[in-house]
């Protein structure tokens, strides 16, 4: 029977897999193939092969630890089967009590970022100050420069933590906006319908 903790035979890629495994254990945020390759002093392609080997070993439901590709890198997480035990040990402060306003603001920053508070306020129609402050405090968004021109507003973008919390490999993994809601034409037609119904 295969055990996840079985010693890996001294084949060169297996040796590299052990190094990668060690690096991922000590890292507290996802590591990209390039970062792993630099630390392991090896080729990124070989690192990818080693990661593949590890992903097979650390997979659900085989192991309590699962290797995942998230936020542009590789990281270990707990198996979903063990979520209840984890929840008894820790709480999840990052996503606890995220308000609908904060989620809307987060969506705007994720899709349109880097963008400023005035831009968020223009789309939502209400001030976004407290929502932005709460997201910055949770580490889901961070400052990313200022708008051009004197006195330009601070712009924000999502952080790797956002991708990690939402289990996204990258921002490209977000669904296309056009797939999410009806387009402007359909909406305009509905508006006109309502307007003509009122007029009659």
């Amino acid at each position: 029977m295969d055990s996840p903790l079985r010693l890996i035979a001294p084949n060169p890629v297996d040796r590299l897999a052990r190094t990668v495994e060690a690096l991922l254990v000590v890292a507290s945020t996802p590591l990209s193939a390039a970062e792993l390759a630099e630390a392991a002093q090896d080729e990124p392609e070989r690192v990818e092969t080693a990661v593949g080997l590890l992903a097979e070993r650390y997979s659900e439901p085989r192991s309590g630890i699962v290797l995942e590709h998230v936020a542009g890198g590789y990281a270990f997480r707990a198996s979903r089967d063990e979520a209840e035990a984890c929840a008894r040990l820790f709480e999840r402060p990052v996503e606890r009590g995220l308000s609908p306003a904060a989620l809307e603001t987060l969506a705007i920053v994720a899709y349109l970022g880097p963008c400023s508070r005035p831009e968020v306020a223009r789309i939502r129609g209400v001030a976004a100050d407290s929502a932005v402050a709460s997201l910055v405090e949770r580490g889901l968004i961070a400052e990313a420069g200022r708008e051009s021109g004197p006195g330009g507003a601070v712009r924000y973008r999502t952080t790797p933590l956002f991708e990690r919390v939402f289990g996204l490999e990258s921002l490209a993994a977000l669904p296309r906006l056009d797939d999410l809601a009806e387009d402007a034409d359909a909406l305009r037609e509905r508006l006109l319908e309502v307007a003509s119904a009122r007029a009659s």
Partner: protein, 253 residues
């Protein structure tokens, strides 16, 4: 003389000349663009007037703060584009188009937020270690090959005690205060009144400072009386007996 109310503060700005309350009236009637009004000029005029009065009129200061902050708010609003006015300028079809576009944008973001909420719920059983950003492996700093003898020479140079720095140029020579005490007493014996600034004009800065100390000494001991028409105006020095006589004459008259 009672201080003039803030509303009557006379202004001389590029865009406007006249009393403050007229400026506010013109602004409220939209006869004048707030963006053209130089608020710092108004603040300067008020501060200059404050400096000219002896007593601090807190009520006037408070009134001024309220008026100027209202003016700043007007100006700030005028500097930002008014979205409602932008929409009002559009033709009805264009306005509907713009409204629909904005609504669609918001709707998409609302849907995106709903998707994120769902995603968050489905990922609730994913647990991982959280921590600060990883320290990227840093490249080793490589030094150019070094010659031990050169290194030793540099260290030896660093070990040598530094030369004593001469402070001779910093010595200041202070003439004795008594010298000026005598000089001023002699002056007052000859003349009833003299101008301090004119007397010390030819002296160095240090000597002027010492002369001023002597003046203060004489004033403290009651030998002289000092008068000055305004801050930074020439200081006039007279013997205190003379001053007393004049006061007495003025009172008795």
């Amino acid at each position: 003389m009672p201080p003039t109310p803030v509303r009557e503060l006379e202004l001389d700005l590029d865009a406007f000349e006249g009393p403050f309350d007229l400026l506010l009236t013109l602004l409220l009637k939209e006869a004048l663009e707030p963006r053209e009004v130089d608020v710092s000029g108004i603040v300067l005029a008020f501060v200059e007037r404050l400096a000219g009065t002896d007593e601090l009129d807190l009520e006037a200061c408070g009134e001024f703060l309220v008026l100027v902050s209202a003016l700043l708010e007007l100006k700030a609003r005028a500097l930002f584009p008014d979205e409602a006015a932008e929409l009002a300028d559009l033709e009805p079809e264009q306005a509907a188009e713009e409204l629909a576009r904005r609504l669609a944008e918001y709707r998409r973001m609302k849907e995106a937020a709903a998707w994120l909420a769902e995603r968050l719920a489905s990922e609730r059983d994913r647990w991982f270690r959280l921590g600060p950003a990883p320290l990227a492996p840093r490249g080793e700093r490589r030094l150019a090959p070094q010659d031990p003898a050169a290194l030793a020479a540099v260290l030896r140079a660093l070990g040598a005690p530094p030369p004593n720095v001469s402070l001779a140029h910093m010595a200041l020579r202070f003439p004795p205060v008594s010298q000026f005490l005598e000089r001023f007493r002699a002056l007052l014996a000859r003349r009833r009144l003299f101008d301090f600034d004119a007397e010390v004009r030819e002296l160095s800065r240090i000597e002027q400072a010492v002369a001023f100390l002597a003046l203060l000494e004489l004033r403290k001991s009651g030998e002289i009386a000092l008068s000055q028409a305004a801050p930074f105006a020439p200081i006039r020095v007279s013997s205190s007996d003379d001053e007393r006589t004049r006061t007495w004459t003025a009172r008795s008259a």
